[in-house]
Structures are given as structure tokens and as C-alpha cells.
């Protein structure tokens, strides 16, 4: 079973990051939400309706992970096809297609067939087809995997622009640094279940702390679980993670009160990668 009991709440107008190790069920979840795969039991709902509802799909854009398209078409023809399939009137497409091709930086290649495109160029035109009908909800599955740093910045800017116009972006990416810069909220899933979620706007509160201290007793260390997770002791080096900076004075007082000689107490902002490793555990094949 790839996914079980998965329930996600994504707020309108936010960029939502979907994280998990390989085989966690991310792509399966997206496929179920889009109606490409059926759950073995239960149901998937999107925007309050089952994904088989044609009218709901009119409000959804999707860039598949493998972004394969009819390669005998030019970018203009591909966008025209997807625009027509999405129900966009011809007169709107006339203006929207060149603008989108310009947005993804493919104007010089607009008359070339896709079969001559690189992976990155295909990803760019794939992103354009996901936006052709100005959807309310956009699923982007690994949207930057084939792009160079400039292309990644372009995608980030496009994603933010979509949020600014009120669209919700559902982002699945292995590039944690991209997620960290871009997303408003992230959810971690493992073995098809939500492990935890983080509001990235409040994420600066999550900190990892490194302590150099002597006379650390077992009882003193075990009490740290009240405030932190992933508590580790290596001789005089103590590390742990807390969800809030507010508890740091309490922890320091606890250590001193327990008789520890504290030489260094260093809180550090926790990167998403550290958070990921912390939540998922190491060596899980991400």
C-alpha cells in the first residue's frame, strides 16, 4: 500500500511543499489527487470534489514529473492544444501563448519542434502548459530537476507570481533548498502517512542546539526530551533540536541546575535538510 490515511490541508494562495524519501508515496498521492490513479479504498477529494469531476480539473494545472509531450509539435502548437483541451477560448490563447513562452524563456525557440528540445527546455514548456488556463491549483512534480541555476530561479519567480495572483501551488521536489526558499508550508510523508508538517514562515523558530559541557548525567540528558528531540551525547558534546527559541533559557537553567559545567551553548537555525533528516531519520534513501 503506497498511501494510507493521507489527509492534507492546503490553504488557498500558498505554496505547499510535499516532502518524503523515495517510495514515500508522493507521486502516488499526486496521481490520486489528479485522478490518474484510484485509491484501493476510500476516496480522494480535491477542491471538495472527486478528481474525476471534469469541471474541477478545469481549475487544476499539472506539470508531470516525466514531462513527456507530443514532440512533433512546436511550443506554440503544444500550448494551443493544451489550452483548447482546458477550454480556453481561441482569442484568449492568441495573447496568452506568446506571453507564456516569453515567461519561460523559450521565445527564440517557439517555432522549433519539441523533439529538438533539451530536458530543461521541455520542462520549461511543460510548466507553461500547466499555466495556460490560469488554474487555481497547480501541481508541479519536480519542476526544476532538469534546469540550470538560472532556470531554477525563473521557476521560483513564476511559482511566486502564481501565488501572488491567488493560485495555490503544490510542489513536489527533491531539491530541499528549492523548497526551503519557495514554500510557505511543507509536509513530510513517509510510507504513505503524514509524519509532520512545518509552517516555513515560522520555521526560524525551530533550532538545533549544540552544547559543550562537562558533568552531564544520564538523568540530566533524559530530561531534555521535555523540550527537544533527537537528543545526542558524544562525550562533552550534546546536541538536540527544539521547535521554539522560547525554551532555550529553560534548557540552559536545567543544565546548570543539574550540575553540568556549560562551556558553550550555541543555538543554530535549522535548515530544511536538517529538519528532514531529523524527521525521517538517516539512511532512508532520500
Amino acid at each position: 500500500m503506497a498511501v494510507r490515511g493521507l489527509s492534507l490541508t492546503v490553504r488557498r494562495g500558498e505554496i505547499f511543499g510535499f516532502l518524503g524519501p523515495n517510495g514515500a508515496g508522493k507521486s502516488t498521492s499526486i496521481k490520486m489527487l489528479l485522478g490518474l490513479a484510484k485509491p484501493t479504498s476510500g476516496e480522494a477529494l480535491i477542491l471538495g470534489f472527486p478528481p474525476s469531476n471534469v469541471e474541477v480539473r478545469r481549475r487544476i494545472g499539472y506539470l508531470p514529473e516525466n514531462f513527456r509531450f507530443y514532440e512533433w509539435l512546436t511550443p506554440v502548437e503544444l500550448l494551443e492544444l493544451h489550452g483548447r483541451l482546458s477550454g480556453v477560448p481561441g482569442n484568449k490563447l492568441e495573447g496568452r501563448i506568446p506571453a507564456l513562452i516569453e515567461l519561460v524563456g523559450l521565445t527564440p525557440h517557439s517555432d522549433k519542434r519539441l523533439q529538438n528540445f533539451s530536458k530543461g527546455m521541455l520542462q520549461r514548456i511543460g510548466l507553461a502548459q500547466a499555466l495556460i488556463h490560469e488554474p487555481d491549483l497547480i501541481f508541479l512534480d519536480e519542476p526544476t530537476s532538469g534546469l540550470d541555476p538560472l532556470g531554477r530561479r525563473m521557476v521560483r519567480d513564476i511559482i511566486r507570481a502564481q501565488r501572488d495572483r491567488g493560485a495555490t501551488v503544490f510542489l513536489n521536489s527533491h531539491l530541499l533548498s528549492e523548497i526551503e526558499i519557495t514554500c510557505d508550508q511543507v509536509v513530510f510523508i513517509r510510507e504513505g502517512e503524514v509524519v509532520t508538517s512545518r509552517d516555513m514562515r515560522a520555521q526560524e523558530e525551530a533550532v538545533s542546539v549544540e552544547v559543550r559541557a562537562r558533568k552531564l548525567t544520564q538523568e540530566c540528558v533524559s530530561h531534555l526530551n521535555r523540550w527537544g528531540t533527537s537528543v545526542r551525547v558524544d562525550e562533552e558534546r550534546l546536541t538536540f533540536t527544539t521547535r521554539s527559541r522560547d525554551v532555550l533559557p529553560d534548557i540552559l537553567r536545567h543544565l546548570v541546575a543539574a550540575g553540568a559545567d556549560v562551556y558553550q551553548f550555541t543555538p543554530q537555525r535549522m535548515s530544511l535538510e536538517e529538519l528532514f533528516m531529523n524527521v525521517m531519520g538517516e539512511d532512508r534513501g532520500f
Binding site: 489528479l34 471534469v54 506539470l63 516525466n66
Partner: protein, 276 residues
């Protein structure tokens, strides 16, 4: 609307990839050989003592051979060109960006099917028309009921198309192609066995032929087309693909039409239900 967009893009793909043009070019090679053969045969008649009645029957039989070749080319072309459209797009993931658009899956499948129907219609019309025209202008003979024959050949192609689509919703391109060509081969063999049963009055042999026609009615449709188009002499040639030893009834044609609808219906149902 979605059906017609998909039909249009499918037909356009055939045109853009030069599938139809290549098939017609290959067909042109056949027409050239057929025309040269007819021309030589007619020329030979001028210096021979073959009576006019027999000359007419021989050229008519040659025309039937030509139309049988058109039938085989059309069915094989239909299968080969359409086998990748469903299975290949599922395997490659190309279908993902299409299937998430606001159109039902039945519209995708039916649209693609209609696109190929249009392509096959063009192919059969041009190849059948050119062959009949060669028979008339070079050989001086005309098929008995050409419209009926052309429509039945078209029906046979559409049956092969629907079966190809049906297996394409289950299996990979290669597997689907092998299965459909195998079924066409079995139907071809069954047709011959049924012909032989008429000659030897072997009911068990006839049963094998009938069962094979029920499993895949393509060959039975051709034999009905041949019966409609052939001259009486050509029909009396035993062991030929156009012998009138065992003539498929109109009930068989009705069965073939229902078979077409059912296989297409299964394709639509399974494409709708499966994960992509």
C-alpha cells in the same frame, strides 16, 4: 469538443510524422506492380487466342488479387500505426498531461480512435479507388459491388483498430502488436480452413473456421467483401481467398459490427478504470 480536439491531433500526428504518406508511398509500390502486371497481361491477350469471356474472367481475378492485397495492407497498416497510441503514451507518461485536462477519459480514447478512423478512411479510399481504377482503365474490368466491398474492407480495418486499442489499454506496445497480429493470423488461417471444409464437407474443420471468425471476424468480413465484388468465375476458384465455397452471411457482418462496438466499449471501460 474534447473528442474532436483529440481526433484532430491524432490525425495531425499521422500527417506530421508522415505515417499516412509513408503508408501511401508503400502502397504506391504495390499499385505500380499491379498496374504493370495488368498492362502486361492485357498486352499478352492481344497476341494470344484466349477467348474474350475468359480474358475478362482472368483480369477480374487479377483485380480481386489486387483488392485482397489492398485489404491485407490496410489491416496491417491500421494495426501497426495505431498500436503505440494508447500503450505507448501510457508507458512514456505522455498521457499524464492530457488525462489531467478537463475531459473524460472516454473522450481521449474515442477521439484518438476517430482520428485513426479518419486516417484509415483516407488510406482505404485512395488504395481501393486506385486499384479499382487501374483494373478499369488498364484491364477494362470493374468490381461487381465496389462500394460494398470498400465499406467492408473499411469495417475490417476498424475492427482491427478497435481490437488494437483494447489490448493497448492493457499491455505494452510490443505485446499488443504481437497479440493483434496473432489474432489476425489466426483469423486468416481459420478462413482458409473454412474454405477447405466446404471443399471436403468436413464439419469439424468448418467449426474451427467459424470459431476463429467469432474470436476475430476480420477474415470473415473480407470473404464477404470478396463475395460481393468478385465475378462468378473468380468466386468459383476453390482454395482462393475469394472462393464462394463458404460465404459469410449478413448475420456474420452484423456480428462483426457488434464485435467492433464491444471491443471499443471494453477499451473505453478499461482505459477509464485503469491507473495511468
Amino acid at each position: 469538443m474534447g473528442v474532436w480536439i483529440m481526433a484532430g491531433i491524432t490525425f495531425r500526428e499521422a500527417a506530421r510524422k508522415k505515417i499516412l504518406l509513408t503508408a501511401l508511398f508503400a502502397g504506391f509500390a504495390f499499385l505500380l506492380v499491379f498496374g504493370i502486371g495488368l498492362h502486361i497481361q492485357v498486352g499478352d491477350f492481344r497476341t494470344s487466342s484466349v477467348p474474350p469471356f475468359l480474358r475478362y474472367q482472368i483480369v477480374s481475378a487479377m483485380l480481386m488479387v489486387g483488392l485482397y492485397t489492398v485489404d491485407l495492407l490496410a489491416v496491417v497498416m491500421t494495426t501497426l500505426t495505431s498500436v503505440d497510441t494508447i500503450a505507448g503514451e501510457i508507458t512514456s507518461g505522455t498521457i499524464h498531461a492530457i488525462a489531467t485536462k478537463p475531459l473524460a477519459r472516454w473522450q481521449i480514447l474515442l477521439g484518438k480512435w476517430l482520428g485513426f478512423v479518419a486516417m484509415v478512411a483516407v488510406y482505404v479510399s485512395l488504395m481501393f479507388g486506385a486499384t479499382v481504377a487501374e483494373g478499369y482503365w488498364i484491364g477494362g474490368v470493374m468490381a461487381q459491388h465496389p462500394l460494398s466491398g470498400a465499406l467492408l474492407i473499411f469495417l475490417e480495418c476498424i475492427i482491427a483498430l478497435s481490437v488494437t486499442f483494447m489490448f493497448g489499454t492493457w499491455f505494452s506496445t510490443l505485446t499488443s502488436g504481437v497479440i493483434v497480429l496473432g489474432l489476425l493470423g489466426a483469423a486468416f488461417m481459420g478462413g482458409w480452413l473454412e474454405q477447405m471444409s466446404g471443399f471436403t464437407e468436413g464439419s469439424r474443420l468448418a467449426m474451427v473456421g467459424i470459431v476463429s471468425s467469432l474470436v476475430m471476424p476480420s477474415e470473415a468480413v473480407w470473404r464477404r467483401a470478396a463475395f460481393d465484388m468478385e465475378s462468378p468465375l473468380a468466386g468459383s476458384l476453390q482454395f482462393s481467398p475469394f472462393a464462394d465455397v463458404s460465404i459469410p452471411s449478413m448475420t456474420m457482418i452484423a456480428y462483426a459490427s457488434i464485435y467492433l462496438v464491444i471491443t471499443l466499449g471494453i477499451a473505453v471501460y478499461h482505459f477509464r478504470e485503469r491507473d495511468l
